[in-house]
């Protein structure tokens, strides 16, 4: 079966082409989705890419969360469609209420573009199963990160709940680049199907253009789960 992965383009999206390329590399059919079109065109999963949707002029992700396509994404996600928000996409998912918490200005106040080590905290999600190792200790992965508003904040109550429900997907390893609470780099829904993270796995799919290929696992994991489900 062909797996169709949709990637949303908002005005101001930047890394939509990278996400489409990642989908293609793992053997999926990449499908472009347009912000103003509420139709999801029958895709099997949706990626909300990085960038500055609508200029991020109110709060990062806030205006995009109101876009027609997002109303469909919210409904479909509640129905179990796998959804991944990367960077701005993560911000959109929080603003749309699909994930708890918010992303605010980096503690250091500056935009940062660095290669960052992450620990994979949960390997039982559709987005991270490939990082499962024979042993329990998954080695840190190296993924680029680039944002000015990536400090994850949530109430203590929400943070405790995230931990209790095993919904922290990634944590920053080594230096915390933005002051995120509890070093959180990415989280997911309880069933692991809706995920968001600040770093950019789609920029780590080819050693020629990224710091390595550690990001590929996220897209391959999705393929495993979708192809597995179909067969």
């Amino acid at each position: 079966m062909t797996v169709r992965i949709g990637v949303i383009t908002f005005p101001g999206s930047l890394d939509d082409v990278d996400a489409l390329r990642a989908a293609k590399i793992v053997g999926a059919e990449p499908v472009s989705l347009w912000h103003a079109d509420a139709d999801l065109h029958g895709v099997d999963a949706v990626i909300i890419p990085g960038g500055f949707s609508y200029g991020d002029y109110l709060r990062a992700g806030a205006i995009a969360a109101q876009a027609p396509v997002m109303r469909s994404v919210v409904d479909a996600a509640r129905g179990g469609l796998p959804v991944l928000g990367i960077c701005n996409g993560f911000q959109v998912l929080c603003e749309a209420g699909l994930l708890p918490g918010a992303l605010v200005r980096n503690a250091g106040l500056r935009f940062r573009c660095i290669d960052q080590q992450l620990t994979v905290e949960r390997t039982s999600s559709v987005w991270t199963s490939r990082y499962r190792s024979e042993y329990d200790d998954v080695r840190p992965i190296l993924i680029p990160l680039k944002h000015a508003e990536g400090r994850y904040v949530a109430t203590e109550h929400d943070l405790d709940a995230l931990e209790a429900e095993d919904r922290v997907l990634f944590r920053y390893h080594g230096d915390n680049p933005n002051g995120s609470l509890r070093d959180i780099a990415g989280i997911c829904s309880a069933d692991g199907r809706i995920a968001g993270l600040m770093p950019h796995p789609e920029h780590a799919i080819d050693a020629l253009t990224g710091p390595g290929t550690d990001g590929l696992g996220m897209f391959s994991s999705l393929m495993d789960s979708l192809v597995g489900a179909a067969s």
Binding site: A62, C94, A102, V104, R105, L109, V153, G179
Partner: protein
């Protein structure tokens, strides 16, 4: 036509590095009397007569501010007054 100000500030329990940096800059340039700064956003809206206080409250709390991290106040300004 009325003018409305909406001020949004980050909740006190959330770290405000920008406020801190500004406070430090003020202290460095001789304004040590400013002991704390919180940085937020200020919006001025022109709204037509039909817009009620409830609608303003709703749009402030759902769009202009993110209640997870921010608090806000809505103030109708006197005619022509800008803040």
């Amino acid at each position: 036509m009325a003018r409305v100000a909406v001020d949004v500030v980050i909740k006190p329990e959330i770290l405000d590095p920008q406020g801190k940096a500004i406070q430090a800059a003020l202290a460095r340039s001789g304004h040590a009397g400013v002991t704390e700064v919180r940085a937020g956003k200020h919006f001025e809206l022109d709204v037509d007569g039909a817009v009620t206080d409830e609608e303003l409250e709703r749009l402030a709390g759902s769009i202009l501010a993110n209640p997870v991290i921010e608090t806000w106040t809505v103030t109708r300004l006197a005619d022509g007054e800008a803040r």
